[in-house]
Structures are given as C-alpha cells and as structure tokens.
C-alpha cells in the first residue's frame, strides 16, 4: 500500500497563473479533458443509438434535473481539494429540506425559511470542520457522524413526508424560462451560479489558492504562513451551505420534504467530482470539472432510462466509470512523480 501525497501539482498550476509550465497544466487538466471527451462520446453514441437524443429539451432537463447534484458537487470540490471528504451532504440536504417543509407547514414566512436552511447547513459543516481541524478526527469519520446526526434529525422533525405548497419554493422549479424547447428554471440558474462562484473562488481568490495549497501539502501550506486552520474549517462550512442550497433545490424539485431523500447522494456526488477530474488526494481539480462530472452522471442515468434497462445499471456504470477514472488518476500521479 504505497501512499502518495507528493504528487498533487502546486497551486500555481491553476488557471490563475499567467504562463504556467506546459506540462503542469496538462497534468492537472488531463482528467477534466478526459471527462469532457467521455461526455461528448456518450452524447454522440446516444444520439447514434437512440436517434433523437440530443434534443434541446433533453439537454435542458439534464441541467435542471441535476441542479441539486451540481450544487453538492461544487461544495464537495472544495472539501476534496483540501484533501478531505464530506459524507454528510446527502443527509444534510434531506434534513434542511425536511426542516424547511416543517417550518413552512407551521406558517413561517419563506424569507426566514431559506436563510434558516443555509444556516442549518453551515452549522453542520462547522461542526464537522471543527472536529476535523481542532480535534484531529478524520474527515471521513467526522462527516460520518454528521451524516448520522442529520439523518436522525430528519426523523425527529417528522417521520412522514411533508408536502410543500409554498409558491416561492415551488416556483423555483416550475417557472420555466425560455421557449418550449430550450428552457431553464431558477433551480438550474442557481446551480450554474453556484458553480461559477465556486470556480471563481477556487481560481482567483486567496482562499481558493490556500485550499489548493492545503490539498497539495498541508505541511508547506502551514510553513508558508497560510491560514490552514481557518481554511480547513471553512471548506466544510462551504460544503454544508451548498448542502443547504441543494436541500432547497431538491425540495422544490420533489415538492416535499422526506427523511429518506438523498440516501446515497454523497456517493453520487463524490463520484461526479472524481469523474470531473478532481484528485482524491487533494490539491488538483476544478469546479468546472465537477460540472462535467455531474453531466456525465446525468447522461448515464438518462441513457439507462432510455434503454429501458434496470435502474441498478446506473450504479454499476457509475462504479465502473469511477474506477476507470481513479486508475487513470493513479497513472497520472505516478508519471508526475517521475518528473
């Protein structure tokens, strides 16, 4: 079992640098480009096989149906880039959705409910972050505790599903902007905005560079005088807030809060981020890559529905793809080590 932590490219390999060394930039973009290639191949193959696949309607729904996953993936990208992992996102998403449904049911105005959702997500992220940073608990276990806690609290809020009737929340999904063919819902717009913000923060802010530096080598980051402790807590808070936003999108998508929502979503999110080219050891990856990863996931899901095959094939395909990408990453890391 040989572990490699050295391999992640330095933070200067990101898009922010003016003239990065040629090889470096290729190394960190290769998995993303591979994901883009796979996405295009899948689109073309599906188009050839099904005939009418690449329709504006399908492309629009691909974005809208996976909006919550994109938001989760954006948050997860931060955590994985810093060298951690957050298993709590699916449960936190379900919990914030459940909380919102309950609050709306008892008549709390929506202007209070939505900030409450984000705050609930942020608090759960904060707890995980503090456990990871200050109590030296492994991210995997800390976020596992967060997952248990959030999932259990769902059932404390209510054992049954709660229907959501609030027009603002439902409007996020039901308002269709654009014509009948190309359309976009506010949920889709929120998802794209979140991805854009994530890409900007990671690429062009001091905090973003710190996250890359921590994932690359936490040692050097600390020696460089970067605010390691603060940033490490912050990535989990960001992931928590993203889970809160995803909770809003998912509630609006399903029009109900339900405790069993989003079981296994954390795995889908991690898979999407990894397929999108983020190195699991941290330090290398892009928010835009995660967007591509989610789209690959979406296309697999739709194709399997189109084929009429058993939906269990979605998970198998994602698993195989995840494996393929991890092996590719492993090879890239090995090659980078030799240089």
């Amino acid at each position: 079992m040989s572990q490699t932590n050295v391999a992640a490219p330095t933070p200067t390999a990101g898009p922010a640098t003016k003239r990065p060394p040629r090889l470096r930039i290729r190394t960190s973009w290769v998995p993303v480009l591979a994901a883009v290639a796979i996405l295009i191949i899948m689109f073309l193959a599906a188009q050839l096989y099904f005939g009418r696949f690449l329709t504006p309607r399908l492309l629009s729904s691909l974005l809208v149906d996976n909006a919550y996953l994109m938001v989760l993936a954006a948050g997860m990208t931060f955590v994985i880039l810093s060298g951690g992992i957050d298993l709590s996102v699916g449960a936190v998403m379900a919990f914030t959705g459940m909380l919102a449904a309950k609050l709306l049911l008892i008549g709390v105005p929506v202007a209070v409910v939505i900030p409450t959702m984000l705050a609930a997500g942020a608090v759960s992220g904060l707890i995980i972050g503090i456990m990871v940073q200050y109590f030296d608990v492994q991210p995997f276990i800390a976020s596992l505790a967060g997952m248990f806690l959030a999932r259990g609290l769902c059932f404390v809020v209510s054992l049954e599903a709660i229907q959501v009737k609030d027009p603002t929340v439902l409007g996020l999904q039901s308002t269709k902007l654009g014509d009948f063919e190309w359309y976009l819902t506010p949920t889709g717009i929120i998802a794209l905005v979140v991805i854009a913000i994530a890409a900007w923060v990671l690429g062009y802010t001091r905090f973003g560079r710190t996250v890359y530096a921590i994932g690359g080598n936490v040692h050097s980051a600390r020696l460089m005088g970067l605010p390691v402790a603060r940033s490490k807590v912050l990535v989990y808070v960001i992931s928590g807030i993203c889970a809160g936003i995803a909770g809003l999108l998912f509630t609006s998508y399903t029009a109900a809060g339900y405790s069993l929502n989003g079981i296994g979503t954390e795995l889908d999110t991690i898979a999407a981020v990894v397929i999108g080219g983020t190195l699991l050891t941290g330090g290398s990856g892009y928010a835009l890559g995660s967007l591509i990863g989610v789209l690959v996931y979406g296309v697999i899901k739709v194709s399997i529905t189109f084929l009429g095959a058993d939906s269990s094939w979605t998970r198998i395909t994602i698993g195989v793809l995840l494996l393929a990408f991890v092996v590719v990453q492993r090879l890239i890391v090995r090659r980078a080590n030799r240089h």
């Binding site: 995997f140 999932r151 259990g152 936490v218 492993r330």
Partner: protein, 352 residues
C-alpha cells in the same frame, strides 16, 4: 488501580457495563435468561444472536483498518452473497436438502471472497486509496445483487437454511455460534501466527515494514479477501434471518456500524495496533444500544442520532486536545495538538 485504568479495554468495557446496568434498572427482566426445551432465551441471548452479522463484518473491518485501510463495500457484499445463495436455493428442485443449502452458502461466500480479493488487488497492487477502491464496489455491488435477483426480493422456504438464524445448538443460537467460531478462527490466525504482528507493522509504518522484509502487498491483499469472506457469511446469516434476499436493504449502513464498533473497541483508524477483543466488545455495545433504543420506544429511524452522539464522544475523547483538557496536566497548547496533524502519517490518514 492505575494499571486497570490504563488498560486499553477499560473504557469500552465500562461503556458496555453501563449500558447493561441502565437496561437492567429500566427493565429488570433484561438480565434474566430462561431455558425452554434446552434452549436459552432472554434479552441478552437476543443480543448475542442479533449481533452475529455485525460481528463477522467488524472482525474483517478491524484487520483491514489495522493496515490503514477501510472496507466500505461490506454491506454491498452482504447483499451479493445473500442474493447468490437464495437464488441457488430458489432455483433448485430440492430447497430443503442439506446439500443444496451447503452449496448455496459456499457459492455465496466464495463470490464475496472473490470480490474481497478484487478490493485487495485495487488497494495493494494498483495502489488506489482504500476508501475509493471499496467505494466502487459499494456503489456497484448493490446493482450487481439486484441483477442476480432480477430486481425482485427472492424469498425461499428451506428448513436447513432457516436453522442458521433460528436454530439452537447446545442451547445457544446457531448465529451466535457461527460468530463465536469466526472470532476463534480469526484470533488464532492473527495472534498465534505472525500475521497479526505483520499486519500491525504494515499499518504502523508501511515503508519501514517493507524495508524490514515484510511482504505487505500479500498481507493487505489477503486481509481484504478475508473481509469479503466474513461479509459474505454475514450476508448469509442476514438473509437466513428474513429468509429473503433483499438487495436494497441487506446490510445497509453496516459498514458504518462496523467501523464504529472497531473504533469503540479502541482500535485507531490511523492503523497499526488493533484489538479483536475490543472490537467484539464494540459490537456488543452497538447491539445493546440498538436494543435499548428500541426498548425505550424511540422510533428506530432516530437511532442514527444516538450513534452520531456516540461517534462524536468517542472521537473527541480519543483526540489529544481533549485528553489534554481532561487530564488538566497539559493546558491545551496549540503546538502540542497540531503536531500530529502535521506529520506525513497523519496526512495519509486523512486520505485513508
């Protein structure tokens, strides 16, 4: 006295005793064991029986964790072995014959052994992080199980198969005996041979152990295989309990319970030193906790909250900062606390 308090198993045992005392105060019948027709009955016996699948999984998990690994796929492997075994029994013309059942069990366990070795191959040979290597099978495994059962919940009627969960031998439930045999075999395997020491060597320092001539690759590889094998057996016990192969729900979240049991028992997730006795106690704590919660009338769905609280307490109590605070000898100095986080070993841990 100090020596007793310093013993690594003192806290897990104290927790278990506390739980049992709490239970016996709130319901005096908790401790009573009755003998009906030569068979033991009672709450404690139920705990012994119901903990069997978790026990098997946790044993494998303890060894995998000792190598600095983790096996997330155990739940999915349970689903696979149950599906294989029950599909064989359901398709055979003689579901009640002992031969069919033995073949079915062997087939179920064999296939998870193969999957376990596959995990080991990815970790030890390809060099993928354990959490991801096993995540692949965790994702795909339930899909595979669903394909085996054709998307249905296969149900069977087979007397020999039912004995596994409902039968008694020498007064004890068969499921408990299976887990006891597994504990015995694994203990002999790791403590009466060099395997345990070598495993700890690999977990404490892979590079040093390699330089010392330990063939870590083979050890890690085979331990994942063992974990798969034990998970397979757990899947057989689970499916025998409900006499159905439920690909979606068999062993769901058991990987988390197993990790929790190992950690509760005092094995560090950082790898290295492991304790099988602690793991066994950890399993009993979890099972007693579950049974307590059920008895208190809390909806089973809320159980995760209690488990989360336990995980947080245990993890915090294991952290250096908290120990420093409690002992009061060392004020929480920043330097002391952050040092372990900075070593390369600790960095590895976060990815494991």
């Amino acid at each position: 006295m100090t020596r007793i308090f310093k013993h690594r198993l003192i806290w897990p045992i104290a927790a278990l005793v506390a739980l049992i005392v709490l239970n016996s105060i709130s319901r005096p019948s908790f401790l009573s064991i009755t003998i009906t027709r030569g068979q033991l009955y009672g709450s404690l016996i139920d705990i012994l029986r119901d903990s069997a699948p978790l026990m098997l999984v946790a044993l494998g998990m303890a060894l995998v964790i000792a190598t600095r690994g983790i096996d997330l796929s155990v739940g999915a492997q349970m689903a696979i072995s149950g599906s294989v075994a029950l599909t064989i029994i359901a398709d055979s013309k003689t579901p009640n014959s002992l031969g069919t059942v033995v073949v079915a069990i062997l087939a179920g366990v064999a296939i998870t052994l193969v999957f376990g070795l596959w995990n080991g191959f990815l970790v030890a040979v390809v060099g993928i992080q354990p959490i991801i290597a096993t995540l692949v099978l965790m994702l795909a495994g339930r899909g595979i199980a669903l394909l085996i059962t054709g998307g249905f919940i296969t149900t069977i009627t087979s007397t020999p198969y039912a004995v596994l969960s409902q039968g008694h031998v020498l007064g004890f439930p068969v499921a408990f005996l299976v887990s006891a045999i597994a504990i015995a075999i694994v203990t002999v395997l790791v403590r009466r041979t060099a395997l345990g020491v070598l495993t700890e060597a690999v977990g404490i320092n892979p590079s040093a152990s390699r330089l010392a001539g330990v063939r870590s690759r083979g050890i890690v590889w085979s331990l994942y295989g063992l974990s798969g094998l034990l998970a397979g057996m757990a899947g057989i016990l689970y499916s025998s309990n409900i006499m159905a192969a439920d690909a979606n729900n068999a062993g769901i979240n058991i990987e988390l319970d197993a990790i929790l049991a190992v950690v509760l028992g005092g094995t560090s997730l950082a790898g290295g030193k492991f304790t099988l006795a602690g793991t066994v106690i950890g399993v009993f704590i979890i099972q007693t906790l579950t049974s307590t919660i059920t008895f208190l009338g809390v909806p089973p769905a809320v159980t995760p909250v209690f488990k989360a609280v336990v995980v947080i307490i245990v993890c915090l109590s294991q952290s250096q900062r908290m120990r420093g605070w409690i002992s009061g000898l060392r004020p929480p100095k920043r330097l002391v606390v952050t040092t372990p986080n900075e070593t390369p070993i600790a960095t590895n841990r976060t990815t494991a």
